[in-house]
């Protein structure tokens, strides 16, 4: 069949089964906002498409202290969700700055993560929040912390017969502090040059838990663990913040591209981490 086959999977398990059955020639399709751009640019020729839009993978619910977000949930639905605004406002704030309304209406959270761009804008907040992914494969399912998911630009631990079925995001405690900033070429519809999410629990004036995540400044979205470690047990004073910002910038390994130079990205990483931590201290 020259034109290939198009399947509408009815469940994540069926999608995984179809992937296994068709070997490397099959690709799953969610919103298509990454995949169809590649098709139109003739960078990718689909042979078998497995569509996830009818697989019951869209929706947001709460389970204990975590939100469960179906991988095929459109970004705009997450952005507008009262549950997300209440439990994980950091994620809502980051999505609000992605692309533009029409792209967010079609693009999904699972597509953003599976695409594994270093500049995937849902990755930064989700890394900072300690999210994990439910992967469904032909032979069963597993849970992978997002921090272990990305392996390189466009690369992840996702197996050939696996899909992302669900994103699990621990709720932010009400007293947790957070800040997010995306630096792009323009305000809307532009990919990140640098993006930073910071997330901190502070008790008795001291940091009791912290995470600093950076996007578009390394081969994968990055959790700057050493930098966050420097905040542990400290008060957010100027010297502590400066040291953490420096360590975060040292953890980056950016490249030069059309959006910015490596030199700029490293310096901007330090400046933005500093700025956001100062905001949290204030």
């Amino acid at each position: 069949m020259a034109e290939g086959e198009f399947f509408r999977a009815a469940s994540p398990q069926e999608a995984a089964g179809l992937l296994a059955q068709h070997g490397g020639s099959a690709r799953v399709l969610a919103g298509g906002t990454d995949l169809m751009v590649a098709v139109n640019k003739r960078m990718f020729k689909p042979q078998v498409i497995i569509y996830l839009g009818d697989a019951g993978m869209s929706g947001i619910s709460q389970e204990g202290d975590a939100l469960l977000i179906g991988a095929a949930t459109p970004l705009s639905v997450i952005q507008a969700s009262p549950l997300v605004a209440d439990k994980t406002p950091l994620l809502a704030a980051a999505i609000k700055q992605m692309a533009s309304p029409a792209i967010r209406n079609a693009g999904t959270i699972g597509g953003n993560l599976a695409n594994a761009s270093p500049a995937a804008d849902t990755a930064t907040p989700l890394l900072a929040l300690g999210a994990s992914l439910k992967l469904v494969g032909a032979k069963g399912e597993r849970e992978v912390p997002l921090a272990e998911f990305f392996t390189g630009p466009g690369q992840s631990v996702l197996g050939a017969d696996e899909i992302i079925a669900q994103v699990k995001v621990p709720a932010q405690p009400a007293e947790a502090k957070w800040a997010y900033r995306k630096v792009g070429k323009r305000k809307a519809q532009s990919l990140s040059v640098v993006s930073v999410a910071v997330y901190c629990s502070i008790s008795g004036g001291q940091v009791s838990g912290a995470a600093i995540a950076l996007g578009a400044v390394a081969p994968t979205p990055l959790l700057a663990q050493d930098a966050a470690g420097l905040l542990q047990g400290k008060t957010l004073d100027e010297a502590t913040i400066a040291a953490a910002a420096k360590a975060a910038a040292e953890a980056t390994s950016p490249i030069d591209d059309a959006r910015g130079t490596a030199w700029y990205r490293k310096r901007a990483s330090e400046a933005v981490v500093k700025q956001l931590l100062t905001e949290l201290a204030g």
């Binding site: 198009f6 139109n40 569509y51 309304p101 809307a188």
Partner: protein
């Protein structure tokens, strides 16, 4: 080839499409509905915008087979032929369109906004149109047009 059934502007259609076919190609090349334009073909400019079950999307990066059984509205379908929609009237009266290439997308993005939020602020209009590029009119008159249409539609 695969058979795609969809409704466009209230009318049912059945067309043959391939795996790579986009909704924009179906609309323009198969159904000869030409208000959605081919601008960038990469999701960047917004001139191919349509409403899919009432939701604003880019038809150039919407896989045709993913809209099986769905309902599409293009600019042609927002009002009966011969009538003029308040948004069209407002773009006309407020000089919101010069060459007109971006206008179908601008009007559909504005309609999606006003359907959800009949009294937007200027900033909300800017946000709603943030994915639609215009290279001749400039944005001030386009935003003025949308705000004028919102006033007209409320009265």
């Amino acid at each position: 080839m695969h058979t795609l059934e969809l409704t466009v502007n209230g009318q049912g259609h059945k067309v043959e499409v391939g795996l790579k076919t986009t909704l924009l190609e179906v609309l323009r090349d198969k159904l000869h509905i030409t208000s959605p334009k081919v601008g960038c073909n990469t999701g960047d400019c917004g001139t191919c915008s349509v409403l899919l079950d009432g939701v604003l999307v880019r038809s150039c990066i919407t896989n045709a087979l993913s809209v099986q059984g769905k309902s599409v509205t293009t600019l042609e379908g927002i009002i009966e032929p011969g009538d003029i929609h308040p948004l069209q009237k407002a773009f006309h009266e407020n000089y919101g369109s010069q060459c007109g290439f971006c206008t179908p997308g601008m009007i559909l993005a504005s309609k999606a906004l006003l359907d959800a939020n009949p009294s937007p602020t200027r900033d909300e209009v800017k946000e709603a149109l943030s994915g639609n590029l215009c290279r001749c009119t400039g944005y001030v008159k386009i935003i003025d047009s949308v705000l004028a249409a919102a006033d007209e539609m409320k009265s």
